[in-house]
């Protein structure tokens, strides 16, 4: 029985062996051919699922696809750029907006950090510590801001020590990275050979190199070494990631690594794997992502307030200056300079006529007051009509019976005045710059009815003054004319009044008087004619004086004819007056 059973077993084994030969032996191509015919269908059937499963398993699909997709896009950009642009066009606006927005928020955030680290106590402390550690402030800030940050990742061929590929966090190129790679592998070899080999025959490997500012994490595989330069304190996670990446690279590039002949371009696409190792972790307590950039906003607010204040105060000063400048419109005040340092600190340099409004009074009337007013006031004499009017007003106020008004820059006097007072008045007016030519006295009645209360000596003095005044009066005639003009009438009116007053005084002083009228002419023309013309001029004046109430009996009219004095002979068309007086007391 047993034997039968063993024979059956042997037979079935033989059949199995035959089947194996059919499938895998010389005829196995029958099977593979059949499969190959169906290959497209079979693979097509499960391709998507297989990709999905593999990606899920170890995430290797996207890394394999990435360079293919990149190459396709590159090809598309070079050869079908028009089509690509038309695809992207609708997206560009949004992209730019987003990019600008991101830039601005990043800028604010960075400004905030800068301010925070520059001006705060913490910032100063960090600066000191960075200085003490001998590293740059930026580096120190990074080390304090990040728990850790993988700055560079290097992939080194183990046997040759040549750099295959490197990636940096910042897009900066490292010139000496090739040398560093080789030196690192030499050091690794040195360590491996110098220290005791472990029991299982494995050489010692360098795992970590630490310096003040960074750490090198080194993971060694059979054909390649991966090195990460890290700032801060890298957690285990980084080492694990290095190990995973190293294994992945070994799996994907096993042929390239084994047959490496110095051509590092074969490892261009390993960048995708290496980038996985550029891990970073910020210190949460230091910079949480939703932290408001208070410092930046504070700075912006302060600057804005300062600018607004500067503009406002500048505007205020300008307005104030304009307001004060109005004082220049005041008669008798000339502003030389205004310096408005602030609303309460003003320097004012003016020239002011004594009759002009006082500066303080003007300020008060305009509700202006200053804590610090530096007033430089210099006196001057204004010729403005308002100031002249004020001066006249001041003088006339002493004569209650007089009033005045201006007409064409001529001062007209109205009312009654004693002839003696009138003499005083004209003197005062001439002192303030008003000449007899600017004076109109047609409406002025000169009074000589005053009693002579004064002493004889005083009256005698007045008598002589009046004679003197009369002798200063001269009438100027036109060429070949004896006509009395209105201006002459003015003079004659004054003369008549003065002479009448003189008669009164003379009577009191016991003096006899007479008025001499002397006509004269220039030297053009016939001497006899000139003699006659001179006479006619004196006669015209005498007639006018008679009309003004003087008695012809008291007048003596004579002709001087030509005045043969070199300096005056061309213009001496005049009638001159003088008073002849005889003191009866002396006569006796």
């Amino acid at each position: 029985m047993q034997k039968n059973a063993s024979v059956q077993l042997t037979e079935s084994q033989q059949e199995l062996e035959r089947l194996r030969t059919v499938i895998l032996g010389e005829e196995h191509h029958l099977i593979t051919d059949a499969v190959n015919e169906q290959a497209r269908d079979i693979v097509g059937e499960v391709l998507t699922e297989a990709l999905h499963d593999r990606q899920k398993k170890d995430g290797s699909i996207d890394k394999v696809l990435l360079p293919i997709v990149e190459a396709s896009v590159e090809h598309s950009v070079v050869h079908n750029s028009d089509r690509l642009i038309s695809y992207l066009y609708p997206l560009l606006g949004d992209l730019i907006r987003k990019s600008v927005g991101a830039f601005l928020s990043n800028f604010i955030e960075k400004t905030n950090q800068l301010i925070e680290y520059s001006f705060t106590v913490k910032g100063l402390k960090w600066r000191f510590k960075a200085w003490r550690a001998g590293i740059s402030f930026t580096q120190y800030v990074l080390s304090q801001t990040y728990n850790y940050r993988v700055e560079h990742v290097l992939l080194i061929h183990k046997e040759t020590g040549l750099l295959l590929k490197s990636v940096n966090l910042e897009q900066q190129s490292q010139n000496d990275i090739d040398l560093i790679s080789s030196m690192l592998s030499a050091i690794n070899d040195f360590v491996g050979d110098s220290f005791q080999t472990s029991k299982d025959g494995q050489k010692e490997q360098l795992q970590t190199v630490s310096t003040d500012s960074f750490k090198l994490l080194i993971r060694s595989g059979p054909s390649a070494i991966i090195v990460a330069a890290v700032t801060g304190n890298p957690p285990q996670q980084v080492s694990e990631q290095l190990q995973i990446t190293l294994e992945e690279i070994h799996r994907l590039y096993i042929d390239e690594l084994d047959h490496f002949d110095g051509d590092s371009s074969l490892f261009k696409n390993a960048e995708n794997q290496l980038r996985d190792c550029l891990l970073t972790e910020e210190i949460k307590t230091e910079l949480s992502s939703n932290k408001k950039p208070w410092f930046a906003w504070l700075l912006i607010t302060i600057v804005t307030i300062f600018i607004a204040f500067a503009i406002e105060s500048g505007y205020q000063r300008t307005q104030l200056k304009k307001l004060i400048m109005n004082i220049d419109q005041q008669p008798g005040i000339v502003v030389m300079n205004i310096n408005v340092k602030s609303e309460n600190d003003i320097t004012l340099d003016v020239m002011r006529d004594p009759n002009a409004i006082p500066i303080e009074q003007w300020f008060n009337s305009h509700q202006l007051s200053f804590k610090s007013l530096n007033l430089i006031e210099r006196r001057y004499r204004s010729l403005s009509p308002e100031i002249l009017n004020r001066r006249v007003e001041a003088i006339i106020s002493h004569y209650p019976d007089l009033s005045f008004h201006w007409k064409n820059e001529q001062l007209s006097l109205l009312g009654n005045i004693d002839i003696i007072k009138y003499q005083e008045l004209t003197t005062q007016l001439s002192d303030i710059g008003i000449t007899s030519r600017q004076l109109q006295i047609q409406q002025l009645s000169l009074d000589n009815s005053n009693d002579f209360a004064q002493s004889t000596d005083v009256n005698q003095q007045i008598f002589k003054d009046l004679i003197g005044k009369i002798s200063t009066i001269q009438l100027n005639f036109e060429v070949n004319s004896n006509q009395v003009t209105p201006a002459m009438q003015m003079d004659l009116k004054l003369l008549a009044e003065q002479f009448r007053y003189l008669i009164k005084l003379a009577k009191q002083l016991n003096i006899n008087i007479g008025l001499l009228l002397m006509g004269a002419s220039d030297n053009s023309g016939n001497r006899n004619t000139n003699k006659k013309l001179s006479m006619m001029r004196a006669e015209s004046a005498a007639i006018e004086l008679t009309h003004l109430g003087l008695n012809r009996v008291q007048m003596f009219v004579t002709s001087l004819g030509q005045i043969d004095i070199e300096d005056v002979k061309n213009t001496s068309r005049k009638v001159m007056f003088n008073v002849i007086y005889i003191d009866n007391k002396i006569k006796d």
């Binding site: 061929h157 046997e159 040759t160 080789s182 030196m183 030499a186 070899d189 040195f190």
Partner: protein, 164 residues
């Protein structure tokens, strides 16, 4: 870019470091030589419009105080044995190093008689010297002091590594 590792070997004071110094400006201090036994420099040369980056491993001189640093030869695309032509012994030592290196690597090797600015001081027959030269792929007479033949030698080694 093609990168190649090249080793410089030889007895002490034959001028290996000076040869490299003549050829490149490196970043590492020469102190590395005495601390870990190797100093590495880089130079890019052009061979038939192709750039080759040579990583030059200047390995500490081999004498009775220093063991042969075989570990550094691994992965080299070529190596240079440098001897001092004014010292007979340096040639003997160079040949010994060559023999040791051959145990590790079978890459092209160049024999360099350095200090060519000085008078040669061999006590050897020409035929004997030629016998030694025959052990190498190329031979050069160089002077690290004047720079004579230095560029040419490194150019030749770059070409050798590409032929391989």
């Amino acid at each position: 870019m093609i990168k190649k590792k090249i080793c410089l070997l030889g007895a002490s004071s034959v001028g290996k470091t000076s040869l490299v110094k003549q050829f490149v400006e490196g970043i590492f201090n020469e102190k590395y030589l005495t601390s870990i036994g190797v100093k590495i420099d880089k130079k890019i040369v052009s061979v038939k419009q192709q750039e080759v980056q040579l990583m030059l491993w200047d390995i500490e001189g081999y004498d009775r105080y220093n063991v042969f640093q075989g570990k550094y030869i691994r992965g080299a695309s070529a190596y240079i044995i440098v001897v001092d032509q004014t010292r007979n012994s340096s040639l003997q030592e160079g040949i010994a190093i060559h023999a040791l290196a051959r145990n590790i690597s079978n890459v092209p090797a160049i024999l360099v008689f350095n200090k060519s600015d000085l008078q040669a001081n061999w006590h050897l027959e020409d035929s004997q010297i030629n016998q030694y030269i025959a052990l190498f792929d190329r031979q050069f007479n160089t002077s690290a002091k004047t720079g004579n033949n230095v560029e040419e030698m490194f150019q030749a080694i770059a070409e050798l590594t590409l032929k391989e």
